[in-house]
Symmetry: D2
């Protein structure tokens, strides 16, 4: 798919030059592959809430210009040397693969080796977020015709039984949700409240029901997403436009004999949700805070009422690791028989239309938007 | 020790009639024992921070008038029927015992049986706090010559090798601290920061060092308590009067190669301590909130910075159960060889002097104050 | 349903007088209710593998004669005093209820209070197993027209939306399986091998799939049960009559890229299954031993190969507690929409036919046999 | 320390050519350093039980000839390029360091990334055990004047306040024991039984007491080691030559009100110890199997009596990772003030005397033997 302009092969990409600057469509040269590197022909990447944060400058130390797009799927176009996946199988030209956007986790620092918390490794980089497009190999994000996979990028072959676009139904939301579910450690029989019905909240609905929950309550807006939430398993949906916070909490109490959710998972990005989440969780329950990915403000809580007396357990969840992506790929093969994966993807656009579709993501008129070069 | 006034046997007790009302010294009749009940002759009870909260009306639904004093030690004066301890041994007249102040946990409700969180049982009562002195048997608190142990109160014989007063060095602080240490689940090698150097913070210092911590940092005030903290094991003490919050946090970072404490345990009772505690804990670490026993206000936190990005785990700890008291009794036998238990007790007073000594507890001029009828 | 013989009301029951003695049908007087006791009119009880063990004398210290039948469902016929369930609701005459067969767990001993392992409480009694029918109130097992619920027996109302017989589809197997699943702590994505396809193995299949497992492999015999296993969710069934142990293990390895099951759960009652189970579990995996309910012999293992080098975690699971039964009742309401509950019950018989049906249970020609007085 | 023979610099090493072949003293050329490699001048290495296993051919796939010695300490003699430790500090010539013997854990396979069990990584190599001395760089074991650290070997600087020989008092036993303690997850107040009083059992004694255990019982032989066990903290020592297995178990029961140890840790290398260990652990307790490092036979257990009815948790522990070594280094700085580290080392020998001292290790007449070139 590389085009020729004059004598050069060129790769088209959508570039974010800085906060609130319009997305620019640029051509980059085809990079030379280091030993162990792969050139991927992009099948699809996504526009997600994080890209909106990038556009608004909510994330610190982003090396603009960047090519956004962190979770992507593509076909191996060329490889320099031999590259294997985690089962030891050789990656071949023509394979359909995805890769872990989180890269360069060092396996050599205190966080990696002693704390065993690689998501906090200081050397960690993320495709589509913390790699600059300024210098070669440039193509370190998914909103481009090709993606350059650096040596050591962790790769998973997509199963034959699943369409690459169905994989994108999971996108970055599914591994993120899996990380939260791992932390939630749901007990058989739990009642789960999920705050936020974006792709992460929707996937949490699916996997909470798949992980032993008896009841899942989904709170959010707009109704497009909530309706889809019902279809994929929520037992009750609450439109936050219809009820005030106190009424929302009461609905949860009604569903749980007056106690509150055993586990509440926050996937909103709104600080105020925290207070409400604490209140809708039962005494001795768990509250997983996942959605506060950027700093958009403080929240006032009462440590006696909300934490100490409540005997509560609160867990912040940061990033994902390979185990989450790996299981996401397997899970999609299984769950596609039960839920309509294609309905997660409400919009498919070209690289050129990235800007317009980013705006649609902000207006919440979509569930998932996919870029297909 | 029962006195005779005219024809009646009478028991002297210090009674708290309501918030900010002066402690009253009253005589009560000797109660008739139900089947399974015990009359204890009080050796000692304590005046602790909770009693100050009771005096200031910080706790809801306290059925004043009450006889304060929740953890006590005494000698069995009479028993109606046979009472056994948890090993099946019969309790005899003359035995020196303590008992679990938390009572009537029902073992029959959702919290006891399904959630297995008996500290949140709605039927739970606490000696010295939630039993009124208005009606017979009256004597349901430790600031009295005698204590009435209702049938079913859980009893532990005090080991022969330990002085009853040494047991009071642990008092209610030690089981409370043990509950927090259970929740903290210290990993061999952890650096622990402890906020607050009252009896709970001091015991946390001792048992953190006994539970695999390599470094313990104790923060608080006044110096009397911090000095004792050094004596019983803290590797660094920080007087909060000497340093501003940011400087305190920096001290912790210096002790941990810039990362922060692996586990921070809050034992202050001050909402503002929460923000500081979150900041002094490392990414991926744990924060145990123990000291927010009453509602004394809100605190503003940033859920992105302090929880989500930090990948933090926060646990509120409420109350104690029998396992904590049981191990406290055993622990005192062991630890008395290593630390000077008697120095925990800085003040011993009579029932009549309860009011005066409660005021001293407020001024923080003491470590532990014991009432000895 | 009490019959009158002469002037007395009588209750018919099937009595096991001792190992290998024929089941005797006897009449007992209607017991007088202590305060807090309930007389239940039996709707159904079950004949399970444990009853076969009782018949063969495999269990120690059984106080024959007994009325077998530990998990039962019935209608409240009379109550002496007020009895509440765990939500505080009053139990009324005419309510359809089940009850926890495990009784008299003391909440007062070291196992209950310090170790928090009530299934090992030395005071524990079990309906249908450890209560003798010799003395009044006699009716402490389910193979009878009426069951006497002693004061303190823990009760759950059966949901209106579920047939009492559907509840018996769970019977004692479902709470037992829930206990094992709690211990297994399945991680989202695990491959689970289940040894044994009796009612417990079949329920394990259902709830493993409901608890985050991606693949469930069911091993056992005969084909009647395996076929049903396929219907309720197993991804692969292995008839142990068709393959030798080594071949069975290889099948599991094939399903897991050569590694073995992440979690294997044993529900066979055969010591030899242990060796095979250890071999089919992956390095670093978990092995839950549930089915060795009686002592039927030893097994030779290699601690280096099977445990140490394998970095394996093995957990023995003993008995059930109230939380397991409670969730079983809720679960049946949910799962009845997905699987054919009534097909669990292959045989329904009268009290008089207990003996004949016990023999059928031994021949494994049934899935579940229910006694319906 | 490299010697010159004719024109070549040579490094002396003790080489194990195969099972039961006499240790040979050989000279190797000084290896050329790859980029990222380090040449270490050996201060000390150790002769441990594993070396005896190597000598007897108990371990599979050992690529004889090898230079034994897996945990060592040395001085950096030369470095090719920049090498950093886990805190990001540059390693300099002259630094005293130790290194993780376990190497080439890939951080790229299913065990490393999905199961997060790097000790089961199939690419894992171990200095002194699984590296052959046949090919350059030859020097991949500690019984040599120099050790070649391959690029990526994980390094820790030894604290200034500790003697290199004191570090060897920990040797490979201390990180191994730390791994077991992590798995044991001791609860404050536990009674711990330790089977085996070799260096691992002795270190387990020290760190169990440091990790919240109230009582530690050490079982083993000979008396030399048991006497030292008393000195470093065991509350009771049992010489297995003095008592029969049943009597030993009874001793443990006596120490625990008839229940057995809360946690038993096996560090013997003898299959028969397993049966005894299962019996000395309380119902609902934990049994950590650490010492079955090689296959020296089977053991017959009763799965009903020892696992199922006991409600037991058994954990096999394999190998160590960096977190264990890292904490071992820190721990030695702390514990040297409380216990006589130097008394762990009963024998110090030259490379030439390796054979003789290996035989002494077999006769159990030593605690720890150190090779000092």
């Amino acid at each position: 798919m590389c085009r020729i302009r004059g004598e050069n092969l060129l790769v088209k990409a959508a570039v974010m030059n800085g906060p609130f600057k319009p997305i620019e469509i640029r051509d980059f040269p085809v990079p030379k592959l280091e030993h162990g590197a792969i050139l991927l022909k992009t099948i699809a990447s996504e526009i997600c809430g994080t890209d909106l944060h990038l556009f608004k400058g909510h994330l610190p130390e982003v090396p603009y210009p960047i090519i956004p797009g962190h979770v992507s799927v593509g076909i191996v176009e060329s490889i320099n040397g031999e590259v294997i996946d985690l089962t030891g199988k050789t990656i071949d030209k023509g394979d359909t693969i995805t890769f872990l956007d989180v890269n360069e986790t060092c396996n050599n620092c205190w966080y990696c080796l002693v704390a065993k918390t690689p998501t906090k490794c200081p050397h960690r980089k993320v495709y589509g977020i913390t790699y600059s497009a300024k210098k070669p190999p440039h193509l370190l994000g998914g909103w481009a015709e090709h993606i350059y996979l650096k040596p050591g990028v962790k790769i998973i072959k997509i199963h034959d039984d699943i369409e690459p676009l169905s994989f994108m139904a999971g996108g970055c939301a599914l591994p993120t949700a899996i990380h939260a579910i791992d932390k939630a450690n749901i007990r058989f029989g739990d009642t789960i409240a999920i705050q936020g019905c974006g792709p992460v909240g929707l996937w949490l609905t699916v996997i909470a029901k798949f992980s032993g929950a008896f009841k899942v309550i989904l709170l959010g807006s707009p109704s497009l997403r909530l309706e889809f939430g019902k279809k994929i398993g929520s037992d009750l949906t609450i439109d936050i436009k219809d009820l005030r916070p106190k009424e929302r909490v009461n609905k949860i109490l009604d569903m749980s004999e007056g106690r509150g959710a055993d586990v509440t998972i926050e996937a909103t990005g709104t600080p105020n949700a925290i207070l409400e989440g604490l209140e809708m969780t039962r005494d001795g329950g768990k509250y997983i805070i996942l959605g506060q990915y950027t700093n958009v403000g403080d929240v006032e809580i009462n440590p006696h009422v909300h934490i100490n007396k409540k005997h509560l357990e609160i867990k912040g969840v940061w990033g994902t690791d390979f185990s989450h992506l790996y299981r996401a790929v397997d899970f999609l093969s299984i769950i596609q028989k039960r839920i309509p994966l294609d309905e997660f993807i409400t919009n498919i656009c070209s690289i050129e239309d990235a800007q317009k579709n980013l705006e649609a993501v902000e207006r919440l008129t979509t569930i998932k938007t996919i870029i297909k070069p």
